[in-house]
């Protein structure tokens, strides 16, 4: 156990926990877009900046990547922090101008306009990497990845073609903070447009609704730690 101070209040934390995690657990809100408690921290969106005092040094750091250390003093709302965070949001906005979560943050933080514009075609992706980490760490499918670097960096399946490892679970779609990923079921086929993936859906033996990609069933059989009972997938959740 280590002791640290966040916004004047003392907290205990496990060694290895990050500052953002401890703050959120204790009801201290720090805006964040690329952090998820079940995924490894990545420090991609830079929104979770806080001021950290360690010994004689005070500096800004992303709280999701900063480990809790004995005696750490953290401030989440100094003028420096707020100014830096507003700048980060200004930089993110042009990448996904329509995203409701970004717009809400902008309202909260009093960002009314951005001084920046995107040279690239806007694809509403802020390169936060949540989808990639969810797919690799939670699902274990490893269907998508970052490619390129610098301004050419983007998320895509290998070779920019159909994501052959994608099982259509929708975890990435669910977690994406900008809502730029879409999943649609139509005529027994599930489509994930950004991953160029189409998957055939299995029909429920009772109501006939085509509800689950065959690929997901196959994946659960092969990779699932405790595979579901025989016949589990015959019925959709409504008919089970």
């Amino acid at each position: 156990m280590v002791h640290l101070v966040i916004d004047g209040k003392g907290f205990q934390a496990e060694e290895g926990q990050n500052v953002l995690e401890v703050a959120l657990e204790n009801g201290i809100e720090i805006p964040h877009l690329c952090y998820h408690e079940q995924l490894s921290p990545y420090g991609g969106c830079r929104l979770c900046l806080v001021e950290i005092t360690r010994g004689a040094r005070t500096f800004l750091s992303t709280s999701c990547t900063y480990p809790c250390l004995e005696g750490l003093v953290v401030r989440t709302d100094t003028p420096d922090v707020l100014r830096a965070r507003r700048l980060v949001l200004e930089l993110l906005m042009p990448l996904a101008p329509e995203a409701p979560r970004l717009q809400a943050l902008a309202r909260q933080m009093g960002v009314t306009e951005t001084r920046f514009a995107s040279d690239e075609e806007v694809d509403d992706c802020i390169r936060c990497g949540l989808c990639i980490r969810a797919c690799a760490e939670l699902v274990g499918a490893e269907a998508i990845t970052f490619s390129g670097r610098g301004e050419r960096r983007k998320v895509e399946p290998p070779f920019g073609e159909e994501a052959l490892n994608c099982i259509g679970c929708g975890a990435c779609v669910f977690l994406c903070p900008t809502g730029c990923l879409h999943m649609e079921d139509q005529d027994g086929v599930r489509t994930l447009d950004k991953w160029k993936r189409t998957l055939s859906l299995k029909a429920c033996a009772s109501c006939g609704r085509r509800y689950l990609p065959f690929a997901q069933i196959e994946f659960a059989r092969q990779k699932g730690e405790d595979p579901p009972a025989e016949g589990w997938f015959e019925f959709c959740p409504d008919c089970r």
Binding site: T145, S147, R149, P158
Partner: protein, 162 residues
């Protein structure tokens, strides 16, 4: 690259997936690019997800999915070189080799690309060939430089086709 050639490289590193980046660099040096088949083979052979290999192949400047020349030419287009006429040098190279930046000659001898500041601005304009730096370049020096590397020049085939 044939399976056997890849296999030799894989075994050189004891088939350890932790060394996969070194393997990719070795293959790139031999083949001057990483083919899709190569990445797919390595992915299965080393049980490394294809996504991770694709990520590396597109991230590192030393690696390329597109074929590069046996002699790879980089023209610095950084600010210091740019103001001293890098664009004219690039044009001359494109004319001499009859390719555009980002392409390779049909005989795969030369590949042409641009970079942004190689860190030797005082020598600018700078062109590097196979990692060798040529400082104070000018359009008129391009032909002589190419001849130094040309494999066909000895047979009387001129590089420049002006």
């Amino acid at each position: 690259m044939g399976k056997q050639a890849i296999e030799r490289i894989v075994e050189k590193y004891g088939s350890d997936h932790a060394d996969v980046l070194e393997m990719l660099i070795d293959i790139q040096e031999k083949e001057h690019y990483l083919s899709r088949e190569t990445l797919q083979y390595l992915s299965e052979r080393l049980a490394v997800p294809l996504t991770r290999l694709y990520h590396m192949a597109t991230f590192y400047e030393a690696l390329s999915l597109k074929r590069r020349g046996r002699h790879q030419i980089h023209v610095c287009m950084g600010t210091a070189c740019h103001v001293r006429g890098a664009a004219r040098i690039l044009e001359q190279l494109e004319r001499c080799l009859s390719i555009k930046s980002g392409e390779v000659t049909p005989d795969l001898q030369f590949g042409l690309a641009t970079v942004n500041c190689v860190g030797t601005c005082a020598l600018g304009p700078v062109v590097s060939v196979d990692g060798e730096y040529h400082g104070h370049m000018s359009a008129s020096k391009v032909e002589r430089m190419l001849k130094r590397y040309s494999e066909t020049e000895a047979n009387g085939v001129a590089v420049c086709q002006k």
